[in-house]
C-alpha cells in the first residue's frame, strides 16, 4: 500500500446558485492577461447544456481521456505513433470558436468621441486582433438554458430532448468545474516534454511554465478540457488549485468566494497502488473502485503507513477533520465527474435535488406528496445524473439522493419540535450522529470546517530554511557585474 495525501474539492450541486462568482475570483487573480483572456480555469455550466468549450463531454469529437481495451488502458487520442505524427498538429483539439473569441468594447469613445447624429455606442472589438467583431459565442453562452434548442437539447447526457419542452418535467442545475487534479491525469501522460507533473505532497497537477513548449497534447488529452493554450506565451496553463493560497492554509479563491457555500476542501489519504485497479474497472464499478482506494484517516494502520510514506502529522490530522472523507466515502454522497474518462478525478459532486414532477392536464398540478417529496418524484432524471457522475450506475445515485432526502425528513421533524424518526435514517445507512454530521456539513459548517486545509511543510525542503526566510520573494538576483 502506497499511502499518499491529496487535496480534493467537493461541490454540493444542490446548493449551487449558478452565480459564477468563483469563475471571476479565479479570472481576476490568474487569467486577466494577454493570451489568457479566453481561459476560465474555473467555469460554471448549466446542465443540461453544451458547456465550455462547447460539447466538451463529447469524446467522439475531442478524443480526450483514457479508454479501456481489454485489460489495457490507453489515451483515447494518442498511441506512441500518433504522438510522433501529431507533434505539430492537434486534430481533435478545440478551436478558438469552440471556446469563444474574446472581446472588449471601444468604451472610451463614449466620452472622447466626436459629436454624431445619433447616440454613440461602444462597439465590440476582438481582444486578439483589435478588429471590430460580432459576438456569436462566449464562455457561458448557454447559461440558464439559453438557446436550449441548440445546446441543452443536445446535451450528450440527456436521453429525452422533450423533457426540456415540458413544463411539468423541465429541469436545470449548475455544474462548476475546475481542473480535477486527477490521480491518473491524461494531460501528464500525454505531454511529450514532461512539463506536467503531479505534486507529491498535495496532488496538485501543474504545467511547468519553464519546461512547457506548447505542444498542446495536454489540451487534447484532458477529457475535461481544463488545460488551455496561452497564445501569447506559447505555453499551456491550467488551474493550479491556488497553491499559493492552499500552501498557506487558505481556501482556493474559487472556494473562498463561493457564496452559495457549496465548496469544501480537504485532504484525503489514498492508496496509489490501487489506481491501476480503479482505471481497469468496468464502468458501473468505477465509483466504487475509486472509493475503495480512498482510505480511512482514523484507521491506525493507515495512519502508520501514511507516516512511513512521509505524510506529515499535520496533514493526517487535517485528513481526519476533513469533510472530504465523510462526504465521499463515509456517507457516499459525493461523486467524481465522468469517471468513465478514467483519469480518476479528485473533485467530487453531491448531486442536486429538484422540484417534484407535475402533471399538465387542464391546469398545472404538482404531484401528490407526503411531508418531504421522495426521490422518485424529482425532476432531474437519475439516469441523467448517473451519466454525469457514475458512468451510468443509477443505484449509487439513488442511494445518495435517498440519504439527502431522509436527512431532510428527519430534520424537519426536529425543526417542528417533534422526535426525529431514526428509522428513516437507518433505512439509508445513517443514524442520529451521522445525520448530525451530515447536516452540519450541509449547513452550519463555518469557514474552518468547510476548508480543512493544512499549510505546506516547507521547512522539510532541502536547502537552509533560515536562508530562505531572508531570501524569499526577491526573485531573480544577479551578482555584481564584473565580480566583487
Amino acid at each position: 500500500m502506497d499511502v499518499r495525501a491529496q487535496l480534493v474539492m467537493i461541490f454540493h450541486l444542490d446548493k449551487c446558485l449558478g452565480c459564477h462568482t468563483c469563475s471571476i475570483s479565479c479570472k481576476n487573480i490568474w487569467t486577466d492577461r494577454k493570451g489568457a483572456e479566453y481561459m476560465w480555469w474555473n467555469n460554471v455550466e448549466t446542465k443540461p447544456g453544451a458547456g465550455y468549450p462547447r460539447f466538451w463531454e463529447n469524446q467522439e469529437k475531442y478524443k480526450g481521456g483514457w479508454v479501456l481495451k481489454g485489460n489495457n488502458v490507453r489515451l483515447k487520442a494518442f498511441g506512441k505513433l500518433s504522438t510522433l505524427l501529431n507533434i505539430f498538429y492537434q486534430p481533435h483539439m478545440p478551436k478558438l470558436e469552440d471556446y469563444y473569441h474574446p472581446w472588449t468594447y471601444e468604451y472610451s469613445k463614449l466620452y472622447e468621441g466626436d459629436e454624431e447624429d445619433d447616440q454613440p455606442v461602444a462597439e465590440p472589438i476582438s481582444l486578439i486582433t483589435g478588429e471590430k467583431m460580432e459576438i456569436e459565442s462566449g464562455p457561458n453562452w448557454d447559461d440558464d438554458l439559453g438557446g436550449s434548442p441548440l445546446y441543452a437539447e443536445n446535451d450528450v447526457n440527456l436521453e429525452e430532448r422533450r423533457i426540456l419542452n415540458t413544463f411539468s418535467r423541465l429541469f436545470m442545475f449548475y455544474l462548476p468545474r475546475i481542473c480535477n487534479h486527477c490521480l491518473n491525469p491524461a494531460c501528464v501522460a500525454a505531454c511529450p516534454q514532461r512539463a506536467i507533473y503531479k505534486r507529491g505532497e498535495d496532488g496538485i497537477v501543474l504545467v511547468d511554465q519553464e519546461t512547457c513548449r506548447g505542444w498542446r497534447f495536454c489540451v487534447t488529452a484532458c477529457p475535461y478540457k481544463k488545460v488551455y493554450y496561452n497564445w501569447n506565451t506559447g505555453k499551456s496553463e491550467k488551474c493550479i488549485f491556488c497553491y499559493p493560497r492552499t500552501e498557506t492554509a487558505q481556501a482556493n479563491a474559487c472556494a473562498h468566494s463561493c457564496v452559495g457555500k457549496i465548496r469544501q476542501v480537504g485532504v484525503i489519504l489514498y492508496d496509489a497502488d490501487g489506481i491501476d485497479d480503479v482505471i481497469k474497472s468496468r464502468d458501473r464499478d468505477l465509483v466504487d473502485a475509486q472509493r475503495r482506494i480512498i482510505l480511512d484517516p482514523n484507521n491506525e494502520n493507515i495512519v502508520k503507513l501514511a507516516k512511513e510514506n512521509g505524510v506529515p502529522d499535520s496533514w493526517i490530522e487535517a485528513a481526519k477533520k476533513s469533510p472530504a472523507y465523510d462526504l465521499i466515502k463515509r456517507f457516499e454522497v459525493a461523486f467524481p465527474l465522468h469517471p468513465e474518462f478514467r483519469t480518476v478525478p479528485m473533485t467530487f459532486y453531491i448531486p442536486p435535488l429538484s422540484p417534484i414532477l407535475a402533471t399538465q392536464r387542464i391546469a398545472y398540478d404538482v404531484e401528490d406528496y407526503e411531508e418531504i417529496p421522495t426521490r422518485e418524484m424529482l425532476r432531474v432524471p437519475v439516469k441523467y445524473l448517473s451519466s454525469l457522475f457514475s458512468a451510468g450506475n443509477e443505484e449509487i445515485i439513488h442511494e445518495a439522493l435517498d440519504r439527502m432526502i431522509a436527512l431532510r425528513h428527519y430534520m424537519r421533524a426536529k425543526n417542528l419540535g417533534e422526535e426525529g424518526d431514526e428509522s428513516i435514517l437507518t433505512k439509508v445507512g445513517l443514524d442520529a450522529d451521522r445525520a448530525e454530521r451530515l447536516y452540519r456539513l450541509f449547513t452550519l459548517a463555518g469557514y474552518e470546517e468547510r476548508f480543512a486545509i493544512p499549510s505546506a511543510r516547507r521547512e522539510y525542503d532541502a536547502v537552509d530554511v533560515e536562508e530562505r526566510k531572508g531570501m524569499k520573494g526577491f526573485g531573480i538576483t544577479t551578482g555584481p557585474r564584473g565580480g566583487i
Binding site: 446558485l17 449558478g18 459564477h20 462568482t21 471571476i24 481576476n28 487573480i29 488502458v73 472588449t104 468594447y105 463614449l110 466620452y111 466626436d114 459629436e115 447616440q119 455606442v121 461602444a122 465590440p124 459576438i135 462566449g138 464562455p139 438554458l145 439559453g146 438557446g147 436550449s148 441548440l150 426540456l164 429541469f171 436545470m172 491518473n184 501528464v188 501522460a189 514532461r194 507533473y197 503531479k198 505532497e201 496532488g203 501543474l206 519546461t211 491556488c242 499559493p244 457564496v259 457555500k261 435535488l353 422540484p355 391546469a363 398545472y364 404538482v366 418531504i372 417529496p373 428527519y410 424537519r412 425543526n415 417542528l416 450541509f442 449547513t443 452550519l444 463555518g446 525542503d461 526573485g475
Partner: protein, 1182 residues
Amino acid sequence: MSGRIKDVFSPETRSWEEFYRNRWQYDKVVRSTHGVNCTGSCSWFVYVKDGIITWELQANDYPDFNSDIPNYEPRGCQRGISASWYVYSPLRPKFPYIRGRLLDLWREARKSHSDPVEAWKSIVEDPEKRNSYVKKRGMGGFRRAGWDEVAEIISASLIYTIKKHGPDRIIGFTPIPAMSMISYASGARFLELIGGVCMSFYDWYCDLPPSSPQTWGEQTDVNESADWYNAGFIAVMGSNPHMTRTPDAHFLTEARYRGAKVAVFSPDFSQVSKNADFWIPVEQGHDMAFWMAANHVIMKEFYFDNPVDYFMEYARKYTDFPFLVKLKESGDAYEMGRFLRASEIDEMDNGEWILCVMDESGEIRIPNGSIGLRWGYEGKWNLEMKDARTGEEINVALTLIDGESVPVRFRYDGYGESIRHVPARKIRTKEGEIYVATVFDLFAAHLGISRGLEGDYPENYDDDRPFTPAWQEKYTGIGRSTVIKLARDWGENGAKTEGRNLVIIGPGLNHWYHNDLNYKAVITALILTGSVGKNGGGLAHYVGQEKVVPIGSWATVAFAGDWLKPPRLQNSPSFFYVHTDQWRYDRGAYVSSPDGLPGHPIDYNIKAVRLGWLPFYPQFNRNPIELVEEAVASGAKTDDEIRKWIVEKLKNGELKFAIEDPDAEENWPRVWFIWRGNPIGSSSKGHEYFLKHFVGSPNSNLMAKEVAKDFVQEVVWREKAPEGKLDLIVDLNFRMDTSAVYSDIVLPTAHWYEKNDLSSTDLHSFINCLGGATDPPWEAKSDWNIFKTIARKFSELAEKHFSQPVKDVVMAPLLHDTPEEITQPDVRDWKLGECEPIPGKTMPKLAVVERDYPNVYNRFISLGDGIKNIGAHGVSWNGDDIYEELLKELPAVEWDGKKRISLEDEVSVAEVILRFAPETNGEVSYRAFKDLEKKVGKELAKIIEPYRSVKITFSDVKAQPRRILTSPVWSGNITEGRAYSPYTLNVDLEIPWRTLSGRQEIYLDHPYYIAFDEALPTFKRKLDASVLDEIEVEDGLILNFITPHGKWSIHSTYYDNLRMLTLSRGGEVLWINDEDARSAGINDNDWIEVFNNNGVIVCRAIVSSRVPRGMCLMYHAPERTLYIPKSSVTGRRGGIHNSVTRARLKPLLMVGGYAQFSYYFNYWGPTGVNRDTLVLVRKLRR
C-alpha cells in the same frame, strides 16, 4: 498505472512555481463594499499591489450571533467581485467632461461677462444658444475641462435659477442612501441648504410595496436573511434569490436541510426554481388569485372546520379582524362602509380616529391602540385588549355568527356582484341605529366561506365562484388540487410552528399596476397563520437596499436638518409622470373612476397636492423667494401672515400650483444633479418620454400619440409640449453610463474602493464600511468632496448675488408618524368649497425658511445644532451631551464666532451618524425606548439595558462588520442573538403598528378604497391590452414584457463590465420561448426589434424553453451605451428596457392625511409600475 505519471515531491526542483506565487503577493488589504443598491452590503477585502487595486475577495469575519444559524460569510457575488475591473477601465471618465458646444458657449460668454451668473443668463435666455446644446444631448462631443471651470458653470447656473425661477427648480436624483450613506448625503445636504429638491427612488423604482404601509404603517421592514433559516415553510414569489439575493441564497438552500419546505412561484423556470420542492408556474401578475383561493381554504379549514387556537388568539390580538365596520343599506343589500368610530358612540379626544370592537356580551368597546390614542394621550397606545376609557379587559368577539345576519354586496373583478349574508348586529350610535359587522365575518364572506349563511356562496372548492380553488384556475393556470394541497400545508406548518411561515417576495409581484392587491393576498395568508412578527415567519420583501439603519441621524445630516427644516422631498413617480409629459399620452383609461372622483391620473395628482397628500415641486407658478418678498411688501410681518397671504392667493386663484400647468415655462425644473444612480437609463419608466420632453435630446424613439386632452379636467392643456425643459444636467460618475451620455457635465467620482463611507441593508444586521484602498485616481474626487467643491464656489458667487439671507416658503405634505396623520377623516377639498384651506390640515404645510446662501459652504462642512434633538418613525431623543462629547473627539471648524463639529472629512460624517443613532449607540437606543414608553405605557427600555454602553465607531466597522442594536425606530427585536424578523417588537412588547387600528389592517376603510372595491384583499386582473394604448397592430408576436433582475448586473451597474458581458451574451438580450420564437422565425442570437408606442429596443434574442409562451424577459437593466444598432422602425438607435415602458399612477396610492395613508418620502405614494406592458417582437429588418 501509466509509468509516465509520477508524483514529483521535491519542491526545490520546482522553483518555477514562484511564477504564480508572485502573482498572489500583494502590498495591502483594505475593507470596503459596493454602493450599488443590491442589498448585499457585503464586506470585501480589496487587494492593492504596487499601488494598483488588483482584485477583491470576500471578507469572512462576520461575527456569529447565533450558533444554530449558518454564518453570513462569504457575502459577495459575481457582480461585486467584478468591481475592480471598473477602477482602471477604459469606461471610466478620468477628468471632468463637458458637452463641447456648451463649453464653447460658456467661454465665449465669459469673455463679455465678468460675472459668471450673467454669462449663464446670456446663454439660457437666448433660445438659439440654449437649443444649440440642449438639442444635442446624448450625441457625443464631450470635451475635457478643469474642476474650477465646471464648478463655476454649475454654481452660476444655480444662482441664476434661484434668482430667476426659485430654488425649487433645482433637483437632485440619487437613490438608496443605505448603499453609501455619506455619498448620498453629499449632494442632498448641499441641495437642501440651497432649497433644492431631492427626488425619491424607492417608490419610483416600484420597490416600495404599498401594501406594507397599508397593512402595517411601515415603509418596509423585513427579515434578515439569516432568519430564513428559522422557517418551516418558505414560499418564494416574484423573487429570485439566486439572482438577486445571491449572498443570502445559501440560507434558503440550507434551510431545506433543516427540513423547511420550499414552494417557488414563478412563471419561468427561474434560477431559484431549481431549489423548490414545488415549482408553481403561476401566470405572471395573477399570483393574488392563487393566494385568495388559498386563503379561502386556510380560513375554512383552520378557522371554521378545525379551528386552531393559536390562529384565533393571534387574530384577536394582532389584527383588525375584531373591529367593527358599519353597513350601509343600499337597495336590496348592504354595502361595506367605514369603521365604527368612538366619536359615534362617545365623547373622546381624537374620537374620529379611535375604533371600536364588540365584546362577547354584545357591548361596544373601545380598545387601546388606535391611532387617535397615539397623539395627545399617554399610555393608551398599546395592543392590550383593554378599554381605553376604563382600563377593563375586553373579552373581544371575533365573529358575530351566533345571531342575526344581513345581505352584503361584494364586487369581484371578472365576476360581478355577489350578495352574501354576513353576521351583523344592530347598534345605536349618535346618528341612530345601524348594522355593524366584524372585519373577520366580512372577510370570511368575501372569501366565499358560507358557514351555513345564505347568499351567493360557492358550494365547495370545485364551485367556480370567488374565491375557490376552482375559480382561480382560469387566472393562474394552476390546478385546484395544488392550491388545496399547498394551503393545507401552509396552515399545518403555521399551526405546528406557531407562525414560521415565510414569504420571500419581490418585484415579480410588486411591479404590477395592482401590486398592492397582489401582496395583500399573500400577506393575508401570513396573518391568517399567525406568521407576522415571528422569527422564521412573515413577509420578507426584498427589492433595493432601502434600509438605512441609522436613519434618524443620517437623515438629519443628509437633508441638512441640523440647519434647516423642512427639506424639499419629492415623490419621483408623480414628478416624472408630470414633468416628462407622460400624462399627455395617457388616457388614464385603466382607472375607471367611481362617480365624483377625478377621471385622469394627473387630475388625481393635482387634488392630492392641493389637499396635502403628496408633495410637488416646483410648488407654485412663482418663485417662492419672490413670493415671500411680495407678501412682506404687502404687509405680512410674521411667518403666519406670510402663510395667510399665500393661502389667500391660492384660494382666489392668483397663485397656482405648478402641477396645474406643468408645461408652462415658469414651471419647468431647470438644473438636475445626478449621482450614484442612472435615472435616464435604468430608472426611467418612460425612457423615451424622458429623452424627448425632459432632456430634449433629438433621438427619442417615442411613437405614442398625445391623447390626454379630452380626458383631463383640471390640468392646463398646452397645444405644444415642451422639449428640453432642463437648462443643465450634471452627472457624477465613475462609468460612462446612459445618464452620463445624456448629461452636459460629467464629473469623475471615486469608485467604492476609493472613499470612506457607511453601508447597511435589511438582508443582514451588520453595519459595514466603504474604505479607500487608494486615493481616487486621475482627477476623480469622492462625492462628498465634489459637492464641497461646488458649495465653496457657490458660496463665493452668492456673496454678490445674495448679500443678505433671504426667505423661502417651503410647501410640504402631511406626514406619517406626526399628528398630521390624523387630519383628514374624510376627503374634503377646499377648492370645491367643501372646507376651508388650512395649511397642515386641509392643505399642505407652508414653512417659511431662511436661506443664508453665502454660508452654504460653512454650513455644509459643519454640524448644526439641529442634530441635538432628532428622531424617526415617531420616536425622538436628545443628544446635547453627545454633541459635546463628539466635539472633543472630532476635528472642529469655527465660523461665525462659534466652534462646531467639522464635517469636512467623510470619517467625521460617519462618526456623527453612528454616534447619534440608536442602532449604533446603546445609550441613544435607551433614550428612544424611554420616549416610546410614554405613549405605549409599558416598560420597553429594559430590553436594551444590557447594550446601553455599546458605541460603534467608524474604526470598529473598518475592523469588522458590527452587529446593530435593537432600536424602537425599527420593529425587529434582535436582543439575545435573535435573527432580525420584522414586527417582533410589536408582538413581543405589544407595541401597536402605526395604522388606524394599531393592528395589522386587513380592512382599508379610506373612502377611496371603498369606492374602488379595494377595501378588503381581493383579486383584480392585469391591465388589459385594450386600455394600454401600446400596440397598434394586432399581427405579429405580441408578448407581455417582463423585466426581472438578472444575473449579470445590479440594475445597470456591472452591465457594462467586461466580466459580466463576457459571461453573458455580450449585450442587450430578450429571452423568449422557443415555440414563440419559431412562430416568428427568430433563432437564438438573432437581432430583433422589440417595440410598442412607447419606443423601440434593438437587441439579440435568447431562445429558451425555460420561458413560458406569451411573455418575454429582459433582465433589468441594460445600458444604451453598448453594441446597439439602429431600429428599422424609427431609424434611430434602439433603446433599453425602459424604452417600451411608461409610468402609470394608481390613484389609491395618492391618498393622504389618513393614518397609515399619510405621506413620507419613499414611504407612501404611487409607484412606478411597469409590468402591465405589451410589446411586439420581430426579427430586425436591415
